[in-house]
């Protein structure tokens, strides 16, 4: 067993920042990541980082824009932490050498982005994430922080108490992809989950193939509630054939959307009379689909995004990467023609419930970045707000895990006094399906200390080490089962069925019947998954095995998204319901929470915190 003070799972922007902060606070840190750090999906971010840096701007305005953008489902203490600390973190990146785009006077440049009242998006061409990821990784190399790359974390080692709030996370179990060995990692002070997005739940997504929601699913099964999972952002400008993103920077710089009749529909269709193309993402995504569904789409599928009028110089200076993407992935020359675009899954606003320090209700377990829900984005994330989130909350969680913070938090985690029980909304049973045999087979990966039936009596280690040892044992059993099982279903089949169901039924527009269908189909997929088998017998670099375990995580995540979407019978931010065309502030200024409860998930609610340090954010009508 390997032992450290702090273990960071995932090495994208959030994980790297957390590791640096924890180490600076004196902790002995290791990062465990399924991809080499520079392969993380943060590298794909294009548009920029929001930070109130300039005279005339103020972090309080940024906080206001963010709360409004969130459609009042953000928690003010987290939103204010984000906007207050983003300038410091952004300049920190600059001081680490990040190659931001520059104004004539040598200062970092800023540009306008959707939903912002000030042009406060700081950027590095249209490849901001690439620069940010590499700059942070460079600092990790400089500091000699230990990185276990191509190690896949399959399970959290959590103590066995009845109530999640009483449990502790003692470490993780990871599978060394290159050697095929399963090993335990003990964390003396804390485990920080930074596993990124879950876009692979859908088949048209801007996310990487590795974005399979592992952290969310593992924390969920370990008993940590997951929050606002229905809040999925669909980005309005993705390339139709692949889902590759065309940055909001294009609209920020003045790009225009047209329908098949050549109308600038954001204005002419009355979708956003003031902001037009720069309205917030949910508004633009719905407007586009509306045009397509009403016969004004091109090839019945997409609309056009035109940037030709910006001129070659400006495009090359600020959006060059977009030209390459349009050319390589859609065969379109953005200097000569408009680019085809349509909405695609982009970002998960929900995730592992945390407070404004990234801490969960399980002792020693943290979550940061896209896998977490602090919650700063509420029902709709503003473009350019995820990258500062990685830096701000990465740093906060790193310091907290290393024991360097003694401030109390204002956001509660876990079940508390003001929580409210939810009613069952699903037409089918949720969670685990019946098991194929008495052993727990392919599904044997609850998060708590393994049930006695699973564990090897030879493992008699006690205390924290014992918790990790037992978890290791349970994982060895599961992997053995998967590798040995003879006949069965290939995970790819289950995965593609799941993606189809989600795309068909739990997309931009949502209605009750379809959501219920989706839950039934997810149930079917769960049953099918019990017969899943790994054909590749090899221990060396067995991606068949990894993808099979990822698919299990996708099932849990998909179910949570759909249950949340069915429960929330109102229209808020990205969550549009056909039968409920208004925001219901009386009933729904609250978060949907889902708890795994050893395989029988339960739905509950907790109130939104609208009271911040700067002000109390009174819900207003959201117009752009």
């Amino acid at each position: 067993m390997r032992e450290y003070d702090v273990i960071v799972v995932g090495a994208g922007g959030a994980g790297l920042r957390a590791a640096i902060a924890a180490q600076e606070a004196g902790a002995d840190v290791a990062m465990v990541t399924k991809l080499h750090p520079v392969r993380s999906h943060t590298g794909a971010a294009e548009g920029g980082i929001n930070a109130a840096l300039r005279e005339g701007d103020d972090w309080r305005d940024h906080a206001y824009d963010t709360m409004k953008g969130s459609d009042y489902l953000g928690d003010a203490p987290a939103v204010e932490a984000l906007t207050r600390e983003s300038p410091k973190e952004t300049i920190q990146l600059e001081n680490w050498g990040m190659a931001f785009s520059r104004d004539e006077d040598g200062q970092v440049s800023q540009r306008p982005f959707g939903g912002l009242s000030f042009p406060r998006t700081t950027y590095a061409g249209a490849e901001t994430g690439h620069h940010m990821l590499h700059t942070m990784y460079e600092q990790v190399v400089k500091r000699g922080i230990e990185v276990y790359d191509e190690w896949y974390v399959t399970r959290l080692a959590v103590t066995d108490e009845e109530e999640p709030e009483e449990r502790d996370c003692e470490g993780v179990v990871a599978y060394d992809i290159k050697r095929g060995e399963i090993e335990g990692f003990r964390a003396r002070d804390g485990v920080i989950l930074a596993t990124g997005g879950l876009g692979q739940v859908y088949d048209h997504t801007t996310n990487a193939i590795a974005n399979t929601g592992d952290g969310v699913a593992m924390a969920y099964r370990a008993g940590v509630p997951i929050e606002d999972m229905e809040m999925i952002q669909f980005h309005p400008t993705t390339l139709p054939s692949t889902g590759v993103l065309i940055s909001e920077g294009v609209r920020g710089e003045g790009g225009i959307l047209y329908n098949s009749e050549g109308e600038r529909f954001m204005f002419e269709g009355g979708y956003a009379n003031n902001e037009g193309e720069l309205a917030s993402r949910d508004v633009v995504a719905r407007a586009e689909l509306n045009e397509v569904n009403n016969g004004r789409g091109i090839e019945d599928e997409y609309v056009h995004l035109d940037m030709r009028h910006l001129g070659e110089d400006r495009i090359l200076d600020r959006l060059e990467n977009i030209l390459h993407l349009a050319e390589d992935f859609e065969g379109v020359d953005g200097l000569e023609e408009p680019m085809p675009v349509k909405p695609g899954q982009h970002y998960a606003m929900g995730g592992v419930e945390t407070d404004e320090w990234g801490a969960t209700c399980v002792g020693g377990l943290y979550a940061v970045g896209e896998c977490a829900c602090a919650s700063v984005h509420g029902a709709n994330r503003l473009g350019g707000n995820a990258l500062p989130e990685l830096a701000v909350f990465g740093a906060r969680a790193g310091r907290h895990a290393a024991g360097d913070v003694d401030e109390a938090s204002e956001i509660t985690t876990g079940w508390s006094e003001d929580s409210e029980e939810g009613e069952n909304v699903s037409p089918v049973a949720l969670g685990e399906a019946d098991l194929p045999s008495s052993g727990k087979g392919a599904l044997a990966d609850g998060g708590r200390q393994s049930p006695s039936g699973d564990s090897d009596p030879a493992v008699d280690a006690q205390g924290a080490e014992g918790v990790v040892e037992h978890a290791v044992q349970a994982e060895r059993t599961r992997v053995h089962y998967l590798l040995e099982k003879e006949e069965g279903v290939n995970h790819a089949e289950v995965r593609s069925e799941l993606q189809e169901t989600m795309t068909e039924n739990v997309n931009v527009f949502r209605e009750e019947g379809a959501l219920k269908d989706a839950l039934e189909e997810i149930r079917e997929a769960r049953k099918e998954y019990q017969h899943v088998t790994v054909e590749d017998p090899s221990r060396t670099y067995n991606t068949d095995l990894i993808h099979t375990i990822e698919t299990r995580n996708l099932l849990d995540v998909a179910e949570a998204i759909t249950v949340g979407a069915l429960a929330r019978d109102e229209f808020r931010g990205a969550h549009w319901r056909k039968e409920h065309q208004e925001r219901k502030d009386d009933e729904w200024l609250k978060h949907t929470m889902l708890s795994w409860n050893d395989g029988s998930p339960g739905l509950w609610y907790k109130p939104v915190v609208l009271e911040g340090e700067a002000k109390t954010y009174e819900p207003k009508e959201r117009s752009y």
Binding site: L35, H36, V38, R39, S40, H41, G43, A44, K88, I91, N95, G97, A99, R102, D103, G106, Q107, V108, T135, E138, Q139, K142, K178, A208, I209, A210, S241, V244, L245, Y271, A272, D282, A287, L289, N290, N294, D328, P427, N490, F509, G513, A514, D517, E520, E521, E524, V534, E535, D536, S538, R539, T540, D544, F571, W576, Q581, E621, R622, S623, Y624
Partner: protein
Amino acid sequence: MSTQTEPPETDDETESTPEAEAEPEPRSPGDRRRAEKAAREAEREREEAEAEPDLGEDAVTLKVFRYDPEVEEKAEPRFDTFRVPFEKGMTVLDALIDARDTYDSSLTFRHSCRQAVCGSDALFINGRQRLGCQTQIADLDDDVVRVEPLPHQDVVKDLVVDMEHFYDQMEAVEPYFQTDETPDDELEEQHQSPENREKIKMSTRCIWCGACTSSCNIAADDNEYLGPAAINKAYRFAMDEREGEGMKEHRMELIEQENGVWRCQTQFSCTNVCPKDIPLTEHIQELKREAVKSNLKFW
């Protein structure tokens, strides 16, 4: 306008009409959907079966290198042939994924972003280093797509190569920003002129894919040679005006060492294969010139 208006009806198809509702419907919507789907699938399979004879036109033939030291049948390196249906816009990565998901789930390769930013799927495709996700099948001249692991690197399994040596070389050039003076105030920037940013811009684009180093004859013969990617990384920092003169000298010393820039024989193979169009050879030449200049000054 408020955003809370109802978009016009969009889902007419799925909405049942009153007549349909009146009719007894014994099955759940899920059953119905599944039955429809099964019918669709059967239809597709029939079509595919019928189309089989001329798969020739619309199919891609992949010849893929296979090797797994642990599995008896694969311990001897060989090539497997896969035929996958061709679709417009298909990339080599798409074809590999299709082959793996449909025919052989043990087929192993790295991939993630599928948009040329993560650098994980650099492969030797039809005799040249390329990113699988960035290579359109239609753009390859041959009828057969031949996919091999990057040359000059140890093969772990199938198309996966060991990248450790590449990473070690990258780290050998101290690939992190270092400066003598950092601002006291946490909100103070270290200004950089737009010209200087422009100068280093191309060098900052590297995604660590390893294509360049794999294509380099000198790197192939000489394990010590830093290789084009690492030298480019050194260039990125040496040319950054914010690091200051003292640091630049230190960087030049690193680059001038025996295994540094002087090994480069200007063959341009790295520049030719770099998927990010980084002018690697030019950067190496410029560092050589700098090295000569700084030595002259030194003497």
